[in-house]
């Protein structure tokens, strides 16, 4: 902050005042800021201010080997890191023309869906906490921890798994893992009614969430809203179905849709998605033992690996929406250019600003959390 900013000038004779949501504010997700101009308790304008989590990933990746970057990529989205490494691996595989063994593909889907469950459980807690109800937060995070335990068993990492590498996955599942996963899924399903009673059918919550941050289908398409937020406006649109990757076309699952387009609809869509993820995981538990084969395609010496020149754009469905990875190689040992399209780049900036405008001060935090905006994806 520069000294001249403390030089007083005339105060604007305006009836509006400014509030800063964040970066140090419980009403903001992560380290992010929203500068809000208010009149009374009505938001006149909101302006997103990012960059608090900026690390220059894209620059960093240009300076590291293809294989080194695997460790870097999950950190782009902290609450839901697994899709990042899968997407990066898939992009490199496309560049090299590597064929990923089927078992690896199934394992990746398993990882992605488990990650989706963790992200959605986290989301429920966050959304509830913005409205002053902390129980779902406490329960959700604790239940999420059980999934993280399985991650740890599978990959060694609780949050950042670094499980994938170009060509496949690093390890096969340990002994008895699928049983434990199955038991966990049973447990999560048995918990859902409790969450319903506490959270999803809570009258006060419905009162607050209904109509909050409402967008129409047209607006959602115009602002490039993707993922559950788009499905909450009634559009059945899912990358897993429209542009299938890995083995999603072999799996049976529904694409849940809500019509409201508001915070409540967005929450309910995620609740149904949680059930769908459980369903997908159940199918994986059933199918995985029958799929034999290697878990990784052979790759050249990773420390001197010249990936053929070319480009690849990989899309996949993370828990927040459409995740896009654009990777360019000029045939060197390091990527020439990596560009990440985090779904929150749209949700946390343009959509949030537009939805917050005209809403009430009480709703701002709820809108942000209900969009499940993830600031590190914006900042990169």
């Amino acid at each position: 902050m520069r000294a001249e900013n403390y030089e007083p000038k005339q105060h604007p004779p305006s009836h509006e005042y400014e509030l800063n949501f964040g970066p140090n504010h419980p009403g903001i997700e992560g380290n992010y800021a929203l500068k809000v101009k208010l009149h009374g308790d009505t938001v006149v304008s909101a302006r997103a201010d990012a960059g608090y989590l900026h690390r220059g990933f894209e620059k960093l990746m240009e300076q590291r080997l293809w294989i080194q970057n695997i460790a870097l990529v999950p950190r782009i989205c902290v609450p839901d890191p697994s899709p990042m490494e899968v997407a990066y691996s898939m992009a490199v595989e496309q560049l090299c023309g590597l064929d990923v063994p089927e078992r690896a593909q199934w394992l990746r889907v398993m990882q992605l869906e488990m990650s989706r469950i963790t992200a959605h459980l986290f989301y429920f807690g966050g959304h509830a906490a913005t409205t002053g109800m902390y129980n779902p937060m406490f329960w959700g995070v604790a239940d999420r921890d059980l999934v993280l335990d399985l991650f740890e068993e599978l990959t060694g990492g609780r949050v950042y798994c670094i499980y994938n590498m170009p060509g496949g996955v690093r390890r096969d599942i340990p002994e008895g893992f699928l049983d434990r996963l199955s038991r966990l899924l049973d447990y999560l399903e048995s918990r859902l009614p409790e969450y319903d009673n506490l959270f999803f059918t809570n009258h006060v919550l419905i009162n607050r969430a209904k109509g909050t941050g409402q967008m129409s289908q047209h607006q959602a398409l115009e602002w490039a809203v993707t993922g559950p937020n788009l499905r909450a406006t009634g559009l059945q649109c899912d990358v897993r179905r429209d542009d299938p990757y890995l083995v999603y076309d072999e799996l049976e699952f529904d694409i849940p849709v809500e019509q409201g387009g508001d915070a409540l609809a967005r929450t309910l869509v995620r609740r149904s998605e949680l059930q769908q993820s459980i369903r997908i995981l159940r199918q994986i538990i059933q199918r995985l033992p029958s799929i034999k084969g290697p878990i990784r395609a052979p790759i050249p010496n990773p420390l001197a690996w010249n990936v053929p020149a070319g480009e690849a754009y990989v899309r996949l469905e993370s828990s927040k929406g459409e995740l896009g990875w654009y990777v360019v190689s000029n045939g060197g040992q390091k990527p020439y250019r990596v560009h990440v399209r985090g779904p929150s780049s749209m949700h946390a900036v343009q959509v949030l600003e537009n939805l917050a405008k005209g809403s009430r001060l009480e709703d701002v935090a709820q809108i942000m959390f209900s969009l499940d905006a993830c600031p590190p994806e914006v900042d990169r």
Partner: protein, 243 residues
């Protein structure tokens, strides 16, 4: 979890301090320190990715509240500033402001390797590499990212330090303000200024040492518009000015 040595020179040896005064005040001091160690409010500020392991540490599974640790919203209310992971330069400015606004005794814990040396972002132009250049750090909890158990274990260690009266690094910020300010100015430019008057505060709380002021603070005086507190003023005058 590993504790890195921190370049903090605690001015008084705490063992000396303990023996001064009469028994009554010793007991009182013990009580106060005990209460301070058993009631830690940490600031709700997610500076980086390590923040994702704080909710598990706080919630049902690991339950920090049984140690008397609970999250607080604004820097005024908080005791602990958890730097959870890398701090980008933009965040670092806010972190410094936040740190200066907190009420002492205040403790800084650097969680994740990035606070120690930049971690895997060591090449990044956007993140600070060494937190203790910019503010005194009480404790580092290394790891990428440390598990909730590690965080809690680190906090327990901090509690021990507070209990025996060793967690005094906050005084260092007042006593060697010039050093910290110099590092801040090097990164943010010479016109860097926070609205907090550290020199005035160090005098007010008698923590002023020769090292508090120096070439960097002189630079500050050069640029700074003094932000004196608004004292109540009784500027009465009997001028018959009719509007």
């Amino acid at each position: 979890m590993k504790e890195f040595p921190v370049p903090v020179q605690t001015a008084e040896d705490p063992s000396v301090k303990k023996q001064s005064g009469n028994i009554f005040s010793n007991v009182f001091d013990e009580l106060v320190r005990f209460a301070q160690s058993r009631s830690l409010f940490m600031l709700h500020y997610c500076t980086g990715c390590g923040a994702i392991e704080l909710p598990p540490a706080m919630t049902s599974r690991f339950d920090m509240e049984r140690l008397g640790i609970q999250p607080m919203v604004t820097p005024r209310q908080a005791d602990i500033l958890l730097i959870t992971g890398y701090v980008s330069v933009k965040t670092l400015k806010r972190v410094i402001l936040t740190y200066e606004q907190m009420n002492a005794p205040k403790y800084v814990i650097g969680i994740c390797s990035c606070t120690v040396n930049g971690g895997m972002y060591w090449q990044s132009y956007a993140t600070a590499k060494k937190l203790n250049d910019y503010m005194p750090v009480d404790l580092y909890i290394a790891g990428c990212m440390p598990r909730p158990e590690a965080v809690i274990s680190g906090l327990r260690q901090l509690m021990e330090k507070i209990k025996i009266g060793e967690a005094n690094s906050w005084q260092d910020y007042f006593k060697r303000y010039d050093y910290y300010l110099g590092n801040q100015q090097r990164l943010f430019g010479e016109t860097w200024q926070t609205p907090t008057d550290i020199i005035g505060e160090s005098k007010h709380y008698s923590l002023h040492t020769p090292e508090t002021e120096g070439e960097h603070t002189r630079l500050l005086e050069l640029h700074q518009r003094p932000l004196e507190p608004l004292e109540m003023r009784l500027g009465l005058s009997e001028k018959t000015e009719d509007r």
